[in-house]
């Protein structure tokens, strides 16, 4: 019996020298092993970026014509008087959305973890409700909020305010309010993602840390500031990187909620890029803006990464 077991395990486990041989081959000749990944990344990620970079230095248009290399598109985009407004909108929209999603996500995650620890009923339902907003497509999100924010006499929120004797609010026709409305819609949809990431991080915290803090007589805010936050710091930073990139690329909810208006009040960089290509047929200008968007996203991701603990970047 003993002999039989040892024989089976000896067949199932790769021999150490064979394993070392494969590792050795991979280390001495890594290219064949990396080739599939290089091909996939090159074809599906790198090539489009390089092509956008190439197009940025041409006069390419969706209406065709001879393609000539020039700096005209770059110059036209960078001197476009609308660009500062669009970049300002993007900064406000992204910063407010990221902060809002992080804070709300953290709040809900803390609530759920605390509820689960105390065996409160309904925690699963709460998580599901928050997640429901996340699975709604961006365009549908915009349509839903446009019905809620509608300033028509039959608009949902204004009608409700009217029943309470409150004057109607210019949710979408006032430039300032329109930006706030767009941010609310984006936070509503994006909070679930932050909640999931932070919830997972909270569940990973060693309970003995809280028990030790309780023994030491730490107050709740002290436990939050000196145990919870440091323990989920990495998750918060990674979450911040992901939702910043996601928010920078968001235009579907904006286009269906305000179309970028009134005027340019809610036109963010991704929507400006989309309009440049699909409304103005300016492929070169759109490529320049795509590169600007990529550079901003990379710069912000790099900035966040500086705060990651060493060895976890």
């Amino acid at each position: 019996m003993t002999s039989s077991s040892s024989s089976v395990s000896a067949d199932a486990v790769p021999r150490p020298d064979a394993k070392a041989g494969l590792m050795g081959q991979a280390q001495s000749h890594p290219l064949p092993w990396l080739m599939p990944v290089i091909v996939v990344i090159g074809a599906f990620y790198l090539y489009p970026i390089l092509d956008a970079l190439r197009l940025a230095f041409t006069n390419a248009s969706l209406t065709g014509g001879e393609e000539v290399y020039s700096l005209a598109a770059l110059r036209a985009v960078l001197t476009n008087p609308a660009l500062p407004t669009v970049l300002g909108n993007t900064a406000i929209f992204t910063a407010a959305s990221v902060v809002g999603q992080m804070l709300l996500g953290l709040g809900i995650a803390l609530l759920v973890v605390r509820g689960e620890r105390n065996s409160l009923p309904g925690m699963l339902v709460l998580r599901t409700i928050v997640l429901a907003a996340w699975v709604v497509p961006g365009v549908a999100n915009g349509v839903i909020w446009s019905m809620l924010f509608s300033e028509a006499p039959f608009g949902a929120i204004n009608s409700t305010l009217g029943l309470m004797g409150i004057a109607p609010v210019s949710w979408l026709s006032s430039p300032q309010n329109a930006m706030i409305s767009v941010i609310i819609a984006n936070i509503w949809q994006g909070t679930a993602f932050s909640m999931i990431v932070i919830y997972a991080a909270l569940k990973g915290i060693d309970e003995t840390l809280y028990e030790a803090a309780a023994v030491d007589g730490a107050l709740p805010w002290e436990r939050f500031a000196f145990i919870t936050l440091p323990q989920i710091k990495v998750a918060l930073l990674i979450n911040a990187i992901l939702i910043t990139i996601q928010t920078l690329n968001t235009f579907d909810a904006v286009i269906s909620l305000t179309g970028g208006g009134p005027g340019r009040a809610t036109e963010v960089l991704s929507l400006f890029t989309y309009n440049t290509v699909f409304n103005n047929f300016d492929l070169a200008g759109g490529s320049v803006l795509s590169i600007v968007l990529l550079v901003i996203a990379l710069a912000l991701a790099g900035l966040y990464a500086l705060f990651l603990p060493r060895g976890e970047k």
């Binding site: 476009n80 300033e151 028509a152 005027g263």
Partner: protein, 438 residues
């Protein structure tokens, strides 16, 4: 044995029924001439791809879809050996038109497609449209309205599309509240203020980021004789006399909102459907809309309420200065195969004649108004009169960019973010920057 008998009794009939159903499937697929992705038999000898919008054959309105299904069934029976592979354009029409243009240049476009008249110039410039002259008689070409003929013909006299319906903008009013049609801008503002006093939300019009905003409003600029582009296609609306006329028209809109004759929410309206909804809900008594909304109101409202709504020509700065924007859709061939081009022309004629009569859209040929009794209603007399002052968009590829700037500046004025002069100056700087690279 009992088990086997039971199995035989239950399963054998089930298998037989399944086999019969499966064998019948190809037959039913053959019989169904109009499917979600084709018109005509699956195994037809010839096929043509046709990219259409979702407003007729695949309309969400059941009656419209059924009507067009009948028209297409008759059509395909009259053209044996053909199958039309239909491809639906999504609601994002700008993106769809850009996609057709790009695919056609790469040789992957549809054989035949619906093209927004606003985009025809871009398609003409890209040289992707096949001439249709061989399949249209000289009388048919001559019968198009002049602005339509100009829009579909290139410098060599080739007819590159069949502009199958046109539309125009008119002023709608609920005659219970506004009995007489306002003729001038001042009269319009006064009438709209009266509706506000009567408890309505004022006059509605498109004011958000959409082509409708620019196009509806341009009528007030054109009414004064303003020009958008010069002979080279460069924007000139912000220079010289044009600038003054442009500001006059902008101040008309600005005055409507500032005086309360129109609610500020017009800056958020991006579809005519929003306006129709408000009219149907009884919250507005005046609006600027398209001719097609008349039929929508007649079918949406009860007979008494519908009868109260009338249309009139858009007001001008004076009663003698009028204009209206005329748009519509064309069908164009994007194939080099003459047989497919001919089939595409036949499809376009189907839409231009019986299709228009069914939907009560406005044909682009004078003869069709006499041919169909559907165009005998009193509203068509108003439309015909307004069409005399019809003005199409400039036939230049740069129009979408110019329109986008006009949409932005109108939004800025309506939301009270900028004064008209400032908004126009900023648009001028943006357009100068954009056109400097061309």
């Amino acid at each position: 044995m009992t088990t086997r008998t039971h199995w035989a009794r239950r399963v054998v009939p089930l298998m037989a029924a399944t086999a019969m159903t499966l064998s019948a499937l190809p037959i039913s697929a053959q019989d169904q001439m109009v499917a979600r992705d084709r018109v005509g038999p699956v195994d037809a000898e010839n096929s043509l791809t046709f990219r259409l919008t979702a407003y007729d054959l695949y309309s969400a309105d059941e009656a419209t879809a059924e009507g067009f299904e009948e028209l297409f069934t008759d059509f395909i029976n009259d053209n044996p050996g053909w199958r039309i592979d239909t491809q639906l354009q999504t609601g994002n029409l700008n993106e769809e038109q850009a996609r057709i243009l790009e695919q056609s240049q790469a040789g992957r476009g549809p054989d035949c497609a619906m093209i927004d008249s606003a985009q025809l110039a871009a398609f003409k410039e890209a040289s992707v449209l096949a001439p249709m002259n061989d399949f249209l008689s000289e009388e048919e070409i001559a019968d198009f309205f002049p602005y339509v003929r100009e829009g579909i013909t290139d410098d060599e006299g080739n007819v590159l599309a069949l502009w199958w319906f046109t539309d125009l903008r008119v002023l709608y009013r609920n005659t219970d509240v506004v009995p007489d049609a306002p003729q001038t801008w001042d009269e319009t503002q006064a009438a709209a203020l009266e509706t506000v006093e009567a408890g309505y939300e004022g006059m509605l019009f498109n004011g958000g980021r959409t082509e409708g905003t620019a196009f509806d409003w341009l009528a007030f600029y054109w009414a004064q004789g303003g020009e958008i582009v010069d002979a080279d296609g460069m924007p000139v609306f912000y220079e010289g006399e044009n600038r003054e006329m442009f500001l006059n028209a902008l101040e008309f809109y600005d005055g409507l909102v500032e005086s309360g004759a129109a609610p500020q929410r017009v800056a958020t309206i991006t579809t005519y459907d929003d306006i129709t909804a408000a009219a149907a809900a009884g919250t507005t008594a005046m609006f600027i809309g398209g001719n097609w909304q008349y039929a929508q109101l007649q079918t949406t409202l009860d007979a008494e309420q519908a009868a109260a709504w009338e249309v009139s020509e858009l007001p001008g700065p004076t009663a003698d200065q009028r204009a209206t924007g005329t748009g519509g859709w064309a069908i164009a061939a994007l194939s080099d195969d003459p047989a497919k081009v001919e089939m595409c022309v036949e499809i376009a004629k189907l839409y231009a004649g019986p299709g228009n009569a069914f939907q009560r859209l406005l044909p682009t040929s004078a003869a069709l108004y006499d041919e169909y009794e559907e165009f005998a209603g009193p509203e068509f007399a108003v439309f015909a009169e307004a069409l005399e002052n019809g003005q199409a968009r400039p036939g230049v590829a740069s129009y979408p960019e110019i329109s986008a700037q006009i949409q932005v500046l109108i939004g800025e004025v309506l939301s009270q973010a900028k004064e008209p002069e400032q908004a126009l100056d900023d648009a001028a700087v943006a357009l100068d920057a954009a056109f400097s690279q061309q």
